[in-house]
């Protein structure tokens, strides 16, 4: 079953002669538990696609359907509720609050949303333990490595138990090893915990962790690659494709 799909999704910025088509009739389907990477050269529309999937911007034509509901038909309040309950965001930088511990940072979204602190702490600790940070619950961000901080940020995105994680260049600020660690963690989030992850990245090595890569160029889907087996050659394959497209 598809968790999220788009039908002829189109986004045009501006109007008349200065109009720019950022997305051009994009129809994609992402299944529950799937790990999808979106790649393409700068200005290909990958960020716009992520915005529209997250209900951050409205489309010019076509639609986004999450869990059977079309976003365009939702009121602001419902959209806010949907984003809070169904979507978690992971960014390039982790932006944890320096004076709070790992478990406090990870539990913050649900604490603010009214979950009792003890319960929020318990749920956050569970995610952190799954991410091998069980020994680090009470460490502050400055006592954690970059990779560990990003893992706390992923736990924070998951603490409200969203079905969908949207990751925006999640390894953009990490060294190669920590980048691999986060990409493989996001893979685990889909395979072991059944969440759906859609990740924008420009890095073929990171994209190689996904089940499927959607290539965008000039606002259109120009290619889709399903990676059957995880092996060292996938990254090269993707790098080759990016070169073909003209990065």
């Amino acid at each position: 079953m598809s968790l999220i799909h788009t039908e002829n999704l189109t986004k045009i910025y501006g109007s008349g002669e200065t109009a720019v088509t950022a997305l051009d009739h994009v129809s994609i389907k992402v299944k529950e538990g799937e790990f999808v990477a979106v790649m393409g050269p700068s200005g290909c529309g990958k960020s716009t696609l992520l915005h529209l999937l997250g209900g951050l911007d409205s489309s010019s034509a076509g639609k986004v359907v999450i869990d059977g509901t079309s976003l365009a038909e939702m009121k602001d309040d419902d959209l806010t509720k949907l984003r809070r309950q169904k979507i978690g965001f992971v960014f390039q930088f982790y932006n944890l609050i320096p004076v709070l511990t790992a478990v406090e940072n990870a539990s913050l979204p649900i604490t603010l949303d009214g979950v009792r602190p003890a319960e929020a702490r318990k749920r956050a600790a569970e995610w952190l333990e799954r991410f091998e940070l069980g020994e680090r619950l009470n460490n502050r961000p400055d006592q954690l490595s970059g990779g560990q901080q990003q893992r706390v940020a992923v736990a924070r995105a998951l603490v409200a138990e969203p079905a969908l994680i949207l990751a925006d260049e999640p390894t953009g600020n990490l060294d190669t090893r920590s980048g691999d660690e986060i990409a493989s963690l996001l893979r685990e989030v889909t395979k072991k915990y059944g969440r759906t992850v859609i990740m924008v990245t420009h890095d073929p090595r990171i994209a190689a962790y996904a089940d499927r890569i959607i290539f965008l160029k000039d606002g259109k889907v120009i290619d889709e690659t399903i990676l059957e087996k995880k092996n060292g050659k996938n990254a090269d394959l993707l790098a080759g494709k990016m070169k073909e497209i003209g990065d």
Partner: protein
């Protein structure tokens, strides 16, 4: 923001013409799209620095012998002023936040829906975030690391702003239920009894 000290710093590197200074400043901040320093501001600043004795100016004759161009150089007092600048810390200006003012005034006046304001701002920040990421990717880490670091800073702040919006959205109902910050009005004479202050939303006139 100290354009003045940046100019002193650039002149400490080497003496320059006003025009060269502007170009050097622009290169430093990553283009006039980021910070468009007008020539007028450069020249007024240079005049003031010259009056204060922090820079000295000599005229050289251009290629065609005229008109003469003015070259500015740092003086010893200028160097001392620059050292004072380096000795101090810099406070970021996060508390002057235009969006915060928009949110609060929109809420009190009833002219804007706070949830909508947050939504609009979030979409705006996301677009800025992607512009910063794209620009960052266009720099070469082997020769342009300084620009990359500046854009990392931009990205970090934008992402923090996005997180802050998320928190604010979650706590909006609490803000709505609380009295808004108001100036303390010092009344003459005896304070009236039972003054509760104002609340949001303001009571309807009866």
């Amino acid at each position: 923001m100290s354009v003045r000290h940046t100019i002193l710093g650039l002149l400490a590197h080497k003496p320059r013409h006003g025009y060269e200074l502007r170009a050097a400043f622009e290169a430093l901040v990553g283009g006039d799209r980021n910070w468009d320093l007008k020539p007028a501001q450069i020249y007024t600043t240079l005049d003031r620095l010259e009056d204060a004795g922090l820079v000295a100016c000599t005229s050289d004759l251009g290629e065609g012998q005229e008109p003469s161009r003015r070259i500015y150089a740092l003086t010893p007092p200028g160097k001392a002023a620059l050292q004072e600048w380096y000795a101090e810390g810099v406070s970021p200006d996060h508390q002057r936040d235009e969006f915060f003012l928009k949110l609060l005034t929109g809420m009190v006046s009833g002219e804007a829906d706070p949830a909508r304001l947050i939504q609009t701002q979030r979409a705006h920040l996301f677009r800025e975030l992607h512009a910063a990421t794209t620009l960052r990717d266009s720099y070469d880490p082997h020769t342009e690391m300084a620009q990359i670091l500046l854009l990392d800073k931009v990205t970090m702040h934008l992402e923090a702003d996005l997180r802050w919006l998320e928190m604010t959205e979650l706590r909006l109902d609490e803000v709505k239920g609380q009295p808004l910050p108001e100036p303390e009005i010092r009344r003459r004479g005896r304070p009236p009894k039972g003054d509760k202050g104002s609340t949001y939303p303001p009571p309807k006139p009866t």
